[in-house]
């Protein structure tokens, strides 16, 4: 994935001085840039390369990659809410559904807008719903916020199920895919501007597989890979925005609020506004992901696509990766979507194994696989402080 290479680059850059120092050429800005570009190219090419072991044998690898990328996108959005602002949102699936349904309604159910016209509207609608929910919800803290958002997630899917305007239990079908570049006939053999053959592996020896080709760039029903490319592109854009915001005044305000809300207020941070902003931005990215889902390969959504366990998996993605670190969230999202598919051959056992591996991760790495630098610092500090001082409360 695009995330892993820069993540490891970051991890080594922020390594403690005692660790083996990186050679100078690896630390330079240009090298980092080159590594990011190489990582990106690899990420785009992954479903074409179909590397042995990584490639899923029991389900279409392109489709699995679409799922992994979708989860990664959602996790990056949810990371803003949970990781940056410290708000535990258990109803994120509600925003995912809002974005998907807005797209479905505008492009299929009640109108026939093109996808790229419906997309910004879906994002805007989701953002507004984020503000409407967040306004009252983030006045309560901690567990209470979790319960309120949990309720929201449920309400959305139940409301969709009971609204014939939204297609009720049958959902919305025939949502058109994003517009293709080049011809897009039903038979994909001649689709697209050109076609990219896949690789096939005999052990570790690759050869070109001319039977399976991916058209560039048509969004059809057969090949999932173009959808993956689209979502990956969206992830890259979202990550760039995420970096700019996190390094700005807004990012500092979130960080201060999360570490000590009262102290942040004393610094002049309007904490409520910044938390609401995090909620709205997170919601917007959730809506964006939902919109991509609606216009995805099947072109079909139903209330069953947005059940509560999905919310839990989203939260799990962020926490497994390391709340507060975008690369961690990315990795967490990919793992949560990918692992059950990779082990599909184990049939029902795969969910048990998946659950166990999640438990192992949170037991042995409660801060996540790739925790942010500050979490590591803060954890160390907290332990020291608790040791040094008792519980003293002064009125």
């Amino acid at each position: 994935m695009s995330g892993t290479v820069p993540a490891s680059a970051r991890a080594s850059r922020r390594g403690r001085p005692l660790q083996i120092p990186l050679p100078a050429f690896l630390r330079s800005r240009q090298t980092r840039l080159v590594m990011i570009v190489v990582g990106l190219v690899l990420a785009y090419a992954l479903p074409i390369i179909r590397p042995p072991f990584l490639t899923t044998t029991d389900s279409d690898f392109g489709g699995v990659m679409v799922g992994a990328a979708s989860y990664a996108l959602v996790a990056v959005g949810l990371n803003i809410v949970i990781g940056y602002a410290g708000l535990l949102d258990l109803g994120y699936v509600g925003f995912y559904a809002t974005g998907a349904y807005t797209t479905g309604v505008l492009t299929s159910q009640h109108a026939h807008w093109p996808f790229f016209l419906a997309l910004p509207v879906a994002i805007a609608v989701t953002m507004v719903s984020g503000v409407l929910l967040g306004g009252p919800a983030i006045r309560v803290r901690g567990d209470y916020l979790a319960i309120v958002t949990l309720g929201f997630g449920e309400i959305i899917s139940i409301a969709a199920r009971n609204s014939s305007w939204l297609g009720a239990a049958a959902g919305i079908k025939d949502i058109p895919p994003p517009p293709s570049i080049g011809p897009n006939p039903i038979i994909q053999a001649d689709a697209g501007l050109f076609q990219i053959p896949h690789l096939t592996w005999n052990g570790l020896v690759p050869s070109v597989d001319n039977l399976h080709k991916t058209p560039f760039l048509t969004f059809g029903v057969i090949d999932a890979i173009p959808y993956y490319w689209l979502i990956l592109t969206v992830i890259v854009l979202v990550l760039v925005a995420d970096m700019l915001i996190k390094d700005s005044r807004v990012g500092r305000a979130w960080e201060a609020t999360r570490e000590d809300e009262d102290a942040a207020e004393l610094m002049g941070v309007p904490t409520f506004r910044y938390k609401l902003l995090a909620f709205a931005l997170g919601a917007a990215i959730g809506g964006l992901a939902g919109s991509m889902l609606a216009a995805g390969q099947g072109g079909f959504i139903s209330p069953d696509s947005f059940l509560l366990p999905l919310s839990m998996l989203f939260v799990a993605s962020v926490l497994i990766g390391g709340a507060g670190n975008r690369w961690g969230a990315l990795l967490g999202g990919v793992l949560v979507a990918y692992l059950p598919e990779r082990f599909r051959g184990l049939s029902d056992w795969r969910l048990l194994i998946f659950g166990l591996s999640l438990m192992l991760i949170v037991t042995f790495r409660p801060q996540g696989l790739v925790p942010p630098r500050r979490t590591k610092r803060a954890l160390r500090v907290q332990a020291e402080i608790e040791e040094l001082e008792g519980e003293g409360v002064d009125v």
């Binding site: 960080e255 942040a264 610094m267 002049g268 160390r380 020291e384 402080i385 040094l388």
Partner: protein
């Protein structure tokens, strides 16, 4: 008067934390509130900075009623607080903490901003040594210095200091009080809350004694230092 507190009442649920407190802080002076644990000192400061809701009474800053303004609006007006204990952001470095202190300012790139950082380093050379260390890993005294320095970064007209000497070694206590005097002499009005009454009274122009949520005595620092009952209760009596 820079700050006027009139008939202030603050509750925690049904418990009255402070009752009918009135006092004022003159511009350019050090005013101190002394009293035992639980007397309502911290609550008073938190009410002035806006973290606690007022049940009755008024807080007036520089002629403006700020009783119902949110904390961040008060920071913009020039009230800055160094919270009690370790009020730093533990995961942030010294530099990042100081930057947070200047959150309301828009001139982070300017010479004036660098001057202010320099000024904090002059007051607390320790902080310069620890520039890139995360606040949480520093000693209690260093964190206290950082909290005060951070409060100054907002360029406040009035700085509220909550127990700056708490938990410090005796030698450091001396030092931090002389720094408070220095801050005051550089033109910042100080409202100081302290349990260390002897030091606070020596440094303060005006002083008030809080007992169970009420002001029981007021006067200049020197007057209260000489007051028999204050001596007996807070200065160790005639031992």
């Amino acid at each position: 008067m820079l700050l006027e507190v009139e008939d202030l009442c603050v509750n925690y649920g049904h418990i009255e934390a402070i009752r009918n407190i009135s006092f004022s802080v003159a511009e350019g002076e050090i005013t101190t509130l002394i009293g035992a644990n639980g007397a309502g000192k911290t609550t008073t400061l938190k009410t002035i900075s806006g973290l606690r809701k007022v049940r009755e009474g008024k807080v007036v800053f520089d002629g403006t009623d700020i009783t119902h303004l949110p904390p961040y609006a008060r920071v913009k007006m020039g009230i800055s607080q160094s919270p009690e204990g370790r009020g730093c952001f533990p995961g942030m470095t010294v530099r990042e903490n100081l930057d947070m202190g200047a959150f309301v300012r828009r001139d982070r790139k300017s010479a004036a901003y660098r001057e202010d950082i320099e000024r904090v380093f002059q007051l607390f050379p320790r902080l310069q040594e620890r520039f890139n260390q995360s606040a949480g890993t520093m000693s209690g005294g260093e964190q206290q210095m950082l909290a005060i320095g951070r409060a100054l970064m907002a360029r406040p007209r009035l700085v509220l200091l909550d127990e700056p000497s708490m938990g410090l070694a005796p030698r450091l206590i001396q030092q931090i009080f002389s720094i408070i005097t220095e801050i005051n002499q550089q033109g910042t009005t100080v409202l100081l809350v302290e349990q260390n009454a002897a030091q606070a009274l020596r440094r303060a122009h005006q002083a008030h004694v809080l007992e169970t949520g009420e002001i029981v005595r007021s006067g200049t620092g020197a007057e209260l230092s000489g007051d028999e009952s204050v001596k007996a209760a807070y200065l160790g009596g005639d031992l």
